[in-house]
Subunit: 664 residues, 3 copies
């Protein structure tokens, strides 16, 4: 086995500290076995200190120190935060809000992705960095900008309107096509030509859901174009190492449609932050990590940022519990990340993020936290052989799609403020509890390998995606379509003729009427399951009725159906059953004939990675009691042989290099 490593480290902002601290940082990085730091994310104002006035010496020096210490660098283009002088000279690059009022200096992502002046300044700084450090041996990776869209997702300035029109011309070709696609005849808002269109600045009443969705797509593309602009500049300047950026991927996150970004990323990299108030945040993490994996299943991905402990932006920023940072890091790696990087190396005393935790906390190194950091560095070193491996392919996937979420959130809906993504997370949890390791994939992914495909809350779907899902059923897969799927098309237009339009034929049902429930209202099913929030007036046209509504206005009507489709089957769950999915999950798993991928032990998350015939079983005990898992091999974290089973301590982690026969 060749020398491999899992990345460990995080964002490093030396511009905030003096040289003595730099030296201490290097020493502590070595103590903690840090492999990699992300450098320069917020350094623009310290490199280009005024318009085209550059100061490189200090940066050269820091890079030299890191290089000398054997610490790899992910070098950022510093476009996440324009310097104050640039905002003072060019306030016109700052985003404009929906009311048409421009923001001001003093924040972070204070730029409009469509503004030509911004394009000039941002590419110049990227080019200068690329030219200077493009071939530096310590610079192992490039990190373009930071959290694209995290503050500047939408801009409503005139340059944005101009760019939006160009984007629309490219998408629709003719204004008639646009008018048809958006149904602008409603309220008589037809456009005569593309010049009639502006960004969806606030009107005195609501606005077209199609316009709003198109603007979301455009805005995502404008951010992607900026990424590509910087990436191309770096390549032109001679950069040969991998280039990526950190996608803001969480269950509810939706600033951009990352599926389109993947082809432009040499490695998929994500940021992930848990919600302190979520009692099962580890499950949300598993969902997101599965989704990161699903973006590009051909190679490992990279956790670019997570938090050592508390963050600063939630209402109550409770710190992580002892051991939680380690469990979360190992979870991400188990799900395919080739490392665990953090925001940030050293906690800042100042600025907006002054309460965001760091690997080196405000209190310094005589702390529980630093002890856990050093221990984690050791663990990652001991399990470094897993680097480069892939999660064992799964027969099960949950489909998720960011534009479907946009479509649901833009405009007035039957049920407003409803978390479309909740059902997907619930299915992922329920399948994981049965020893499956579901991928989370977009509808454009290759679906051919899956025997069980769950399609929950796929509110907007284009014909191609609907066809591909139907094709998977015909080819033998079990498809489970959840409520609020297939309702609208890619233009946010309701598919008429019976809900859920895109899947009606596949499912063999005819939905007469969507039936959101009132706050607190419950609707019983014959099976004993209980619906909240959502139901549907449904008829089974060519499907078996598995469960029915009992009582109320839908009494006796189908709630859950199944249709045989070629070699496969297609289930429809018309109600939001949320926590009460239990029996249904067993039924569809049985129908699909899939078996557990990993051992099932309550409280223990198990994921397997493999490479060249070798397999590693990752075990994370989220529970409060020790748990014993059947396995054979060598446990790498504690370095012990495992003959038939291993006991993982409460809150602990283990990674077993399995004896060949043991795997699967």
């Amino acid at each position: 086995m060749t020398a491999r490593r899992l990345l460990f480290g995080g964002d490093y902002n030396p511009e905030q500290w003096d040289e003595d601290t730099w030296r201490e940082d290097i020493r502590l990085m070595q103590e903690a076995r840090v492999t990699t730091v992300t450098l320069g994310v917020f350094a623009w104002g310290f490199l280009e200190v005024d318009d085209d006035v550059w100061e490189w010496d200090w940066f050269d020096h820091v890079i030299g120190m890191l290089s000398h210490a054997g610490i790899g660098i992910a070098l950022a283009t510093p476009t996440a935060a324009p310097p104050t002088w640039l905002h003072r000279r060019h306030p016109e690059i700052i985003p404009v809000d929906r009311q048409g009022v421009r923001f001001h200096q003093g924040g972070r992502l204070g730029w409009c992705a469509s503004h030509p002046v911004w394009h000039g300044y941002s590419t110049r700084v990227a080019r200068r960095l690329g030219e200077r450090y493009g071939r530096h041996p310590a610079v192992e990776m490039w990190h373009v900008g930071n959290e694209f869209g995290g503050g500047n997702r939408h801009c409503y300035c005139e340059e944005s309107s101009t760019a939006f029109r160009a984007w629309l011309r490219a998408r629709y070709g003719t204004i008639d096509a646009l008018n048809r696609a958006w149904g602008t005849a409603v309220w008589g808002l037809r456009y005569r030509d593309f010049d009639d269109v502006i960004a969806p600045l606030a009107s005195e009443s609501g606005q077209s859901p199609s316009l709003l969705l198109a603007f979301d797509r455009f805005s995502s593309d404008a951010l992607l174009a900026q990424y590509r602009r910087e990436r191309g500049t770096l390549r032109d300047a001679g950069v040969r190492t991998p280039i990526t950026t950190n996608l803001m991927l969480t269950v509810g996150g939706s600033v951009a449609d990352y599926v389109d970004w993947v082809p432009e990323l040499d490695v998929v990299a994500i940021d992930h932050y848990t919600q302190a108030a979520d009692p099962h945040r580890e499950r949300e993490l598993a969902f997101v990590a599965s989704r990161a994996r699903g973006l590009d299943r051909s190679k490992p991905w990279l956790l670019m940022e997570h938090a050592p402990s508390a963050v600063n932006w939630q209402s109550r920023n409770r710190p992580k519990e002892p051991g939680e940072m380690t469990r979360h890091s190992i979870q991400h790696i188990a799900h395919g990340s080739d490392g665990a990087l953090f925001f940030q190396w050293r906690a800042s005393p100042s600025g907006v993020e002054q309460y965001h935790s760091g690997l080196v906390p405000h209190a310094g190194t005589r702390t529980r936290q630093w002890g856990e950091v050093v221990a984690l560095g050791g663990i990652l070193e001991r399990i470094s052989e897993t680097a480069g491996s892939l999660v064992t392919p799964s027969a099960v996937a949950v489909v998720a799609d960011i534009p479907a979420k946009w479509a649901w959130e833009e405009g007035q809906k039957p049920l407003n403020g409803y978390p479309l993504e909740r059902a997907g997370r619930r299915w992922h949890e329920a399948l994981a509890a049965r020893g499956l390791v579901p991928d989370v994939v977009s509808p454009t992914a290759d679906l051919s390998g899956y025997r069980l495909l769950v399609v929950p809350g796929m509110y907007a779907v284009d014909d191609d995606a609907a066809d591909r899902i139907a094709g998977a059923a015909a080819a033998g897969a079990t498809i489970v379509v959840g409520h609020l799927s297939g309702i609208v098309d890619a233009e946010n237009r309701v598919r008429t003729g019976g809900y859920p339009g895109a899947f009606r034929t596949l499912l063999g049902v005819f939905g007469e009427e969507l039936h959101p429930l009132l706050d607190g209202e419950r609707m019983a099913l014959a099976s004993g399951a209980v619906a909240a929030d959502w139901a549907e007036r449904l008829r089974a046209v060519d499907a078996d009725v598995i469960d029915t509504y009992r009582g109320g206005p839908l009494d006796g009507l189908p709630a859950v159906t199944r249709r045989r489709v070629g070699a496969g089957s297609a289930w429809y769950i018309s109600a939001d059953l949320d926590a009460g999915l239990g029996d249904l999950v067993d039924a569809v798993v049985a129908d699909a004939g899939v078996r557990a991928d990993v051992p099932v032990v309550p409280g223990v998350e198990a994921v397997r990675r493999e490479r060249d015939g070798a397999t590693w079983l990752f075990l994370v005990n989220h529970g409060g009691t020790d748990a014993t898992v059947d396995a054979t091999g060598v446990e790498l974290v504690h370095g012990q042989e495992v003959r038939t089973s291993l006991t993982v301590a409460a809150g602990g982690v283990a990674v077993i290099r399995e004896t060949a026969a043991a795997a699967r």
Copy 2:
């Protein structure tokens, strides 16, 4: 009996559909026995496709098809939604918000009622329509604009300020009179001349309640002036058929003071939408329908819009229950509407209202909903003889007033966010439960026919209205003044010298101090009734004490009083008793000596209409069980003779042409 009909149909927007759909629409309208469609509400951009460029052919064609099919047309001036080209050319017509920031294109009512440019464009399109279709035989009615003020109630642009000043000059004559009326000496905000006044754009602190109320009145008048401008244009262009517009009348609705609009309407027409979360929405409907009737008791009114099922603009848009559309339609007709029109004919897949239900739903005609539509068309045909009749005059009325609500909602109040209109609805419900069919009338209505007049939450009242109410008591009526009545005058100025200033003498009481209660606080009365939200420190000067407060700071003081006034009496209820009105209602009903107008059967709403000696008893069973009502005559919905009583099925409706002796 001459050929009569009740109108049935709704808004029809052919510009959203192709010609094949038009043909299907006509066929379906005939299947459902549709009599009337409202055409052109949002068609402006399809008629005037650019500035003074007109396309009439398609509209001629649609009108011809409808005419040929025998379907009547309510033709709209399309001013509810200016076309995009107009906003692009003249963004200055779009309303400005309180901060002084102008809205943008893309919505619905994007116009300022005071803007001269708007006046020009809106009257030109009205004139062209009037000239072209003013004498078309299928155009049976004209529908000016749509939901005036539903989005553009207030505009704070400079043209609005200019028009506001002109309005103030007309109302007050001199600036001294205005200064006195508003009490501008408070905070030293006296105006030197009218030119000092601007629209109440946001200041860094609160603003004068008198200024705010005046701006509400002005804004209502500005909308009315726009209505009159279009109506006058139509008449000038040769229109001879009735002209109206759809008033947004609900319990809490208050975009304009519709009492002033009635003289300009050839028929009172309203829109009414229930709140899905209101478990007794049928009672709110009855209140509103009684209010529509009260606006002009001399002739039937018209329900211009209600929803076939769900709407799109509430938080949770639960659909109507099976049968509910029918019950609501019959309720409105029972209360005096000569028909039941809907928004909208065919549900749109696009636009802001894509989830507003239609008579033809997204799922098409193979649906429960379409079945109920067709059945309803049949019912309306079978009860068509009731058209033109009036609700039997009632001896009981509840007084309601929109400017009183404005006065309460503008400025800082003893109890903020409190629903002033709640008490009126509660009284209406309580009286209806006793077999009465109360009118809901404005204080300017002719009050002479009422024996019992309830005046709840008439917060602002001018001297004339107060005198007329007192006069009704002197003439023998029982007057019940509720809390929060008569506190301020028409200028939103507190009437000093003891609350409730306008009614103090009539009631024989002296209110020392208003006494709002804290959230969750309750105050008991000696009778066992319980006050929440509101009480008052009261003395009985010349009145009998009916009930007193018990415990707390008002212990032993009067809560409810009665004063003998000439042949009548005047009650005062100083506390908010909300749900606990029971015994009090019985007492005032007894005091007034009024008897039930209709049979009292729990769950069944009964209303009688009459014409030329004939009477019809409408019965709507809102309950979950069948109910039997004493009656004699012929039931028209199911076509059966009624000898002594009729059983109305749970959720069902009935209309009995009564045998002469049976009525009253």
Copy 3:
């Protein structure tokens, strides 16, 4: 004993009334024994009726009437509300909000403290008033403006940015010093020179907590500068009587840092309004009154405004209970106010404050309220000998600081929306319940006289203050530092190296990590106390552990510690124990060796004032039952001798001139 008096009266706005009312007012003032009215607060527009056009006659007349009636005048510069003509001529003086949008005319404090045009107009009117009335014998005091910052605390206009930059230059000297102090390297937001800085107008993301805090300090200073500008103008114009303004002091109030204002005030004057929904608003009042006293312990202060009954600006403006106005007035005087003035003399029927109560209510004088007003006037006359006395010095103080609150509220915090001031109020209550009369003082006060010093929620603290607190401990005091103290420095920068940085050495502890708790989360302590909202991962380095956390992630770690420090001791309470402070208070009181200052009788608040050897014991019975207090002397309110004890009626008040031996 020389003739003394306690001030009684309130804001008088004759410009709102006619001359007949003036005469009635004077008569009623005399009936109520009013000593003092504040005149002219909102009279600008009636004195300067247009730019430099003056009308003095009416004002001369009113002043003459008051003078003739022997009623003293606190004459206001009328700058609280610029006249409409000034806003029309110079809208540029109106504040601009954070988005950069200017407000409009029609409110109250519509001026930017940094605007040169405002400076010109405001000083001209002050000079004219000073010249005309500066030596008028009835004008006993001057009242500059009104509630500075109550609406115009922050202005973000360009003149404000300019003034902010000048202020920054003066504070920091060099831009490098500012960059270091604020840590602008975070997000690379370094300024090249002061011209790069603007007011913290909204950005698309958060902004530096140091910038925001600096702007709060600047804004406070800009208001103070305006106060000084007007005060200096008055002095230059010949005013020789005391000059002050009414500070908006409440527990949570924080529009300006009043500690800096005290040197400019000839007497500390405050406004105080209770929250109707606070069931223990009398305790909040005691805290605030103690704070007013703490601002300048060398002389009595003055309650310039409180409410006769209801206010108009809360959600539910419940009136005061019978007797409450009297109790509140006596409470303030007990705590050192030389009088009880009210907003306002006569309730206005108009304007924003139309529902703010007056001494003469809307209902007039045949009211319970007026009776209590007259009675209160009599009481104040009977206890007038207490004027000029001081509250007996206390050995106990609670430290409070407005900039510490700003620092906590600006920026993203571990626990957002948390009321930092709550702990201080709880300690004040708990100490008062033990017969102590704690001062509330700023950290810059002379701390040498206190044996027990409670430092709760002193989130931001500079080195000097921290040193002075440590010095008090070394000199023998017991110091109790509460959670969320000493975390950041005066620049809102976290003090690194272990929490709570400023007090770590004094306390002998090392805080590893701040540990906010989730909503609803509780954490038990070994003693049985229970923490909510806040805890801390703490180690005792050089301190005794008094209490520990039990269970959860902090199990077994110290929660409360004590360190012996020279002759004193320093306690640390790392958790929010809120209502459960009980045993801890007893322990620290015992540790400090302080004894009750006043008799302890449940429900009765007791405070002692003294002068020249005489002492007066004020007793306020907040309870619902009569209470007996041990005392000897003469009770002045009812005029009775007190031999050994006095029974104070439920809800009643008493003031005992004590027999010499009885005091202390």
